[in-house]
Amino acid sequence: MILRLPFAIRSALPSPSLPLHRRPIRSPPASALSSLPPRPRQEIPLFLRPLAHSAARSDLDAFRRWAKSLALTAAPGIAAAADGGPDADHLIRELSWLVQDATSEPEVGDEVRLRVGLEELYRLWRERIEKRRPFQYLVGCEHWRDLVLVVREGVLIPRPETELLVDMVAEVEGFQEGLWADMGTGSGAIAVGIGRLLGVRGKVFATDLSPDAVEVARFNVERYGLKDKVEIREGPWFEPLQDVKGKLAGLVSNPPYIPSSHISGLQAEVGWHEPRLALDGGKDGTDYLLHLCEGSASALKPGGFFAFETNGDKQSEFIADFISTMWGNFFENVETVLDFAGIKRFVTGVRR
């Protein structure tokens, strides 16, 4: 018989005081910042570390119980902040993934091998709850499409919506053998996603201004063995692409598109922890989008395809309208495309 309790099990450890009721602000509160221990820049993601530690199963179970009760205690505070943060179910699922990444396949026996010490798991989960550190930075990876991408602070965690950009590229006739560009590649998500689908002559140029992004993208490209298919170039937007100007079969980008004024009200996980360089799209959020549309006219070859992610509905409509009216003689078939939440998330079109 499985013993089931109708109520949450009380925390084995005293629950910490939670700095959750304050409104999220752009950077973590000073107290949170100062208590963050300095981390080495190049931390190996959890799932790639060796199983060099171990713990008694009962101790791991005790950690789970503690972490679960911490999550349940914190959930109402997170909900009260009303910034779109995680609820208890999400946190508990993240907890199971944290343990999944920290252990190996289901192990039997009383001893469990771990990729980090148990104390480190406690520390990580505290950061998740108390500092709202994104789960993906905790474990150092994000599952995206069929990929496991390495991420770390300084690089945007790829979003589920963005997965669709790769599907759109895959629908373009003959895309396999073309030259593609992913501008503002961040972790390299889109570029790796496309790179895996390309044929022998196809290639993706992945650019970013951020040295952090370039480093992480390089790591991901190499981890998937795509060095020949994806070329990483550092620099602002079109600048690193001068040599292929007018030759590109397609351009994709998920540029920063959040209006500057929204930045301070963002969900704590985003506003406190992800790089502003990856989010802030200027006054209306359209600064980079417009720059990309304009540059596409000369970067794409005739018949070349573009797809950009936007802040959704209004912004997509605005960009699509703008292209049709301002650059109507350069582009055709300009349209907005829905994401799975039914939001007009993307603008696509074809160079005449």
């Binding site: 018989m1 499985i2 089931r4 309790l5 109708p6 779109g84 995680p86 179910d89 999400h90 699922r93 993240e94 993934w97 994104p134 789960f135 993906q136 994000e142 599952h143 995206w144 499409r145 069929d146 990929l147 945007l156 965690i157 979003r159 589920p160 919506e161 997965e163 998920n254 920063p256 598109y257 959040i258 929204h262 963002l266 969900q267 996980e269 985003v270 992800e274 990856a278 989010l279 992610e309 936007t310 802040n311 959704g312 994401d339 799975f340 939440a341 039914g342 939001i343 998330r345």
Partner: protein
């Protein structure tokens, strides 16, 4: 436990068009000629193109498959046989005219295995073969084989290649099963012949060897009896198991999650891989509904025995007045077909894919580990959701797999009159269809209402020890079925 065995075949991995063996006919006939001297018989069996060894268990040094654990009966045919060859299925006999049925009818006493009495071994094996045939629904199989052979001989068969492919595949599979049994019968008769021959010639070594072979066959036959319980088209498939709480709030939802747990533990104890695809938690405890994927050979064959409503009687831990409650949970089991040609064809344009539980601005605004996807098949209204994968892409792929299976199941239900076996979906299961009762109070018992099989230790059952229930149900089911058709 200990009832389960590793079976070496995966779901319907059938070649669409098995190549024709140019020697098929003559060698098949050769197999049925029986009056052979010992060494020739052994030779023939081990070098025979249909020998089990090529796709079944590794053969022993004596050329017989011994007590290998592979499922000979369901072995895949490599050869397409046409109707003229069904004639070859006539009853084999020993050199002095004894058939397997005749042996079974003799009523020779069946002694303990340790007794070196060939008649006892032979009688035990013959009885097993009878039971195996019954479980395979032998008469139905022969009738079906004749129908298929007739269809295969039509000259316009290949005008519809999809149909032709299906027919020839089914024919091949059936032929394979029938031949495997015939081969086993043949083996029995040959060993008897050899044993008699050895006695006549005073060849002690050969006599011992034949006795040993009979004993091996006897053990093998016991396993085959069990294997024969899983000879359905889809039995070897992996499957989805779905559990839904009945009316009654938290108490029922708690029961539903106990049932789901029971299956997870059952599956794990048999080495099946278990993945939770969808789980709708109850507000206070338990689950409203959940779907797991159980991957491994014969997962469906066993789990299908669990379809129906499971009833729990206990003092509810959620009732402060400590009253006795009765709660219900419905269980559905859906096979995962890997043979694409028999799958329901889904049109991309018929699908609506939605982010499940999405809210807010999305995109760069939001960091979330929630990427649940729901896929709706618009024409049928059937939908599937997956939320437990770590990427939207994988959630979509899993939801798609569930949807595919639900549509396959619907299609099977539609074509139920064609020889498909069909298990009910959750929506089809009526709450009146109770299959098993679990009583924790005032006494302790689990009783299957279909077989009357019962166990007085509910804890072990809820911990996944379901094999007794499953095997009892499967044998009852098959014995009943064959009775109806004869």
């Amino acid at each position: 436990m200990g009832f389960f065995f590793v079976l070496k075949r995966s779901c319907s991995r059938v070649r669409p068009f098995p190549p024709i063996n140019p020697n098929g006919k003559s060698s098949l006939l050769a197999l049925f000629s029986t009056s052979l001297s010992g060494s020739r018989a052994r030779n023939l069996i081990s070098s025979h193109p249909f020998s089990v060894g090529s796709f079944g268990a590794p053969r022993g040094p004596n050329g017989f498959s011994g007590s290998g654990k592979s499922l000979d009966f369901a072995s895949l045919p490599k050869v397409r046989l046409f109707s003229s060859q069904t004639a070859a299925l006539s009853e084999p006999t020993t050199s002095d005219g004894l058939t397997v049925d005749a042996i079974a009818a003799k009523g020779w006493p069946i002694l303990d295995e340790s007794e070196s009495d060939w008649r006892s071994h032979a009688a035990a094996i013959a009885q097993s073969i009878r039971l195996i045939k019954k479980r395979l629904q032998w008469r139905k199989m022969i009738v079906r084989l004749e129908q298929l052979s007739a269809a295969l001989n039509k000259s316009d068969l290949w005008d519809d290649p999809v149909y032709a492919g299906r027919i020839s595949r089914e024919h091949g599979e059936l032929m394979g099963k029938i031949k495997a049994v015939n081969r086993f019968e043949q083996e029995l008769l040959e060993h008897i012949d050899l044993l008699k021959l050895a006695r006549e010639e005073g060849d002690k070594e050969l006599e011992l060897e034949s006795m040993k072979a009979l004993l091996d066959m006897r053990r093998d036959a016991k396993e085959k009896e069990l294997e024969a319980l899983l000879s359905g088209d889809r039995d070897s498939c992996s499957c989805f198991i779905e559990v839904q709480a009945g009316a009654g709030g938290t108490e029922s939802m708690d029961w539903a999650s106990m049932v789901m747990n029971m299956y997870k533990m059952w599956a794990q104890s048999h080495g099946f891989a278990v993945t939770v695809l969808e789980e709708m938690p109850g507000e206070i405890a338990g689950i409203k509904r959940a779907t797991i994927k159980v991957e491994g050979e014969y997962a469906f064959g066993y789990a299908k025995a669990e379809v129906g409503v499971h009833r729990l009687v206990r003092i509810s831990p959620f009732d402060s007045a400590k009253r006795r409650h009765t709660s219900f949970a419905a269980v559905a089991v859906i096979p995962i077909l890997s043979d694409v040609s028999t799958q329901y064809q889904i049109k991309e344009s018929d699908l609506r894919i939605e982010r499940f539980r999405a809210g807010g601005a999305g995109g760069q605004h939001v960091n979330t580990t929630e990427s649940a996807v729901r896929i709706v098949h618009i024409p049928t209204g059937i939908s599937a959701t997956c939320q437990n994968e770590r990427s939207q892409h994988s959630n979509k792929a899993s939801a798609m797999a569930v949807l595919q299976s639900r549509l396959d199941q619907l299609e099977m239900a539609r074509q139920a009159q064609l020889n498909a076996e069909h298990t009910q979906s959750l929506t089809e299961i009526s709450w009146g269809n109770q299959i098993r009762t679990y009583v924790l109070h005032p006494y302790r018992m689990v009783k299957d209402l279909r077989t009357n099989y019962e166990v007085s230790d509910p804890d072990s059952v809820l911990d996944g020890d379901l094999d007794g229930f499953i095997l009892n149900f499967l044998s009852t089911l098959l014995d009943k079925d064959e009775g109806n058709t004869s």
